[in-house]
């Protein structure tokens, strides 16, 4: 029993390591200009990259797909400078986050990315007062409707598992602001879910 469990754990570990080693070999080839190797990298990682982009921009569809495409084009351009000090998958994930956040900052219309604190306040009051239309929202949709900066902090911390220091650095804010945004985003989210979460 114990031996079987150990073997399973070892197999899981080595499967991940084989995947990482395969990624590294493909990335090395793509860095030298091999588009075929880069297509393999795309096929292996499109789901993960697209997933985090959808969560950060709060939307499926063409916009998220454009950003996914943009992230892979940036990866292609930056690959020759990749030093293989982290896993390829980790590097791609980070690049996807940066691509999505840059787009959120540059968006026009609606609350600006750097100024959505007021919008967060307003929405929080409305929800805590009880907004009947929000009660039936599922979690994913509720997250998607958060203001951009609050959503970014919540997704990076609670979904992707980043630390406040990393989030603050990526978003260009103080660590305290990241914590405050997270606290308020959770409050807002609970309000939108009708206190179910």
């Amino acid at each position: 029993m114990l031996t079987a469990a150990m073997t399973d754990a070892m197999t899981d570990t080595t499967t991940a390591e084989v995947a990482a080693a395969t990624d590294a070999a493909l990335a090395r080839s793509a860095a030298a200009g091999d588009a075929g190797a880069f297509e393999s990298i795309y096929r292996r990682h499109a789901g993960r990259v697209h997933g985090v982009i959808v969560r950060l921009v709060g939307a499926h569809g063409v916009r998220a797909e454009d950003l996914t495409q943009e992230a892979f084009v940036r990866a292609w351009q930056a690959l020759p400078k990749f030093r293989f000090e982290s896993a390829v998958s980790t590097w791609l994930h980070r690049l996807a986050v940066t691509t999505a956040l840059m787009e959120l900052r540059s968006r026009r219309g609606g609350p600006r990315f750097d100024e959505d604190e007021d919008a967060l306040d307003g929405l929080g009051v409305a929800d805590s007062a009880g907004n009947g239309t929000a009660l039936s929202m599922d979690l994913e949709r509720a997250v998607a409707t958060l203001p951009p900066r609050a959503r970014a902090v919540l997704v990076l911390h609670d979904v992707e598992g980043w630390k406040h220091e990393e989030i603050a650095s990526e978003l260009g804010m103080a660590v305290g602001s990241s914590k405050a945004q997270l606290h308020r985003a959770r409050q807002l989210l609970r309000g939108r879910l009708g206190g179910e979460a």
Binding site: A21, S29, Y42, R55, Q69, V73, A197
Partner: protein
């Protein structure tokens, strides 16, 4: 009053914890609805890659010979010390994968150290071909962890890649 505050804080903390668990469940892969590769392929055909960061002058002047020798020694020693893969591994034996990973990591480290120095662009095609072969063999091992013969194939591919890298560094 204080008791009420403590109770509210505890309730908030519990609600936060529950919410975090639910949010963690959102972390999943989402395939794009359309195949984005044709668009990416068209764009990267037009997009130049950034030049690789070159090593500093001191590294280039003194390090290549010493690095090449030490890397060759290190990889050689590691593979002499490693037990040979069994000819007939039992079903589900993870040893083949483990050895493949160890080999890949050893060579990756060797490449990283050697490539701190400049390499010759005319060899990039050959590097690409060997790296692609290594990736294909690793994928095959991932799919069939009992294919011990692939370990030898992987070793030959990496040895050739290392040999070429050393040649590029030394000339």
């Amino acid at each position: 009053m204080n008791a009420n505050n403590d109770g509210a804080q505890e309730h908030d903390a519990q609600a936060d914890e529950q919410l975090r668990w639910q949010l963690r469940g959102l972390r999943r892969d989402l395939e794009p609805q359309a195949d984005l590769w044709p668009g990416i392929a068209a764009r990267i055909a037009q997009a130049p890659q950034q030049a690789a960061a070159s090593g500093n002058a001191r590294t280039r002047r003194f390090a290549p010979w010493a690095m090449a020798a030490s890397v060759l020694l290190a990889v050689g020693v590691v593979w002499q010390l490693m037990p040979a893969a069994p000819q007939q591994a039992p079903v589900g034996n993870p040893m083949v994968r483990q050895q493949a990973v160890s080999m890949a990591l050893d060579y990756e480290r060797a490449f990283a150290r050697l490539e701190q120095a400049d390499t010759h662009p005319e060899l990039h095609g050959a590097f690409g071909e060997l790296d692609r072969s290594a990736a294909q063999i690793l994928s095959a091992i991932d799919n069939d962890p009992n294919a011990t013969f692939l370990l030898e194939q992987l070793r030959r591919t990496y040895a050739r890649r290392l040999q070429l890298t050393q040649r590029a560094v030394m000339t």
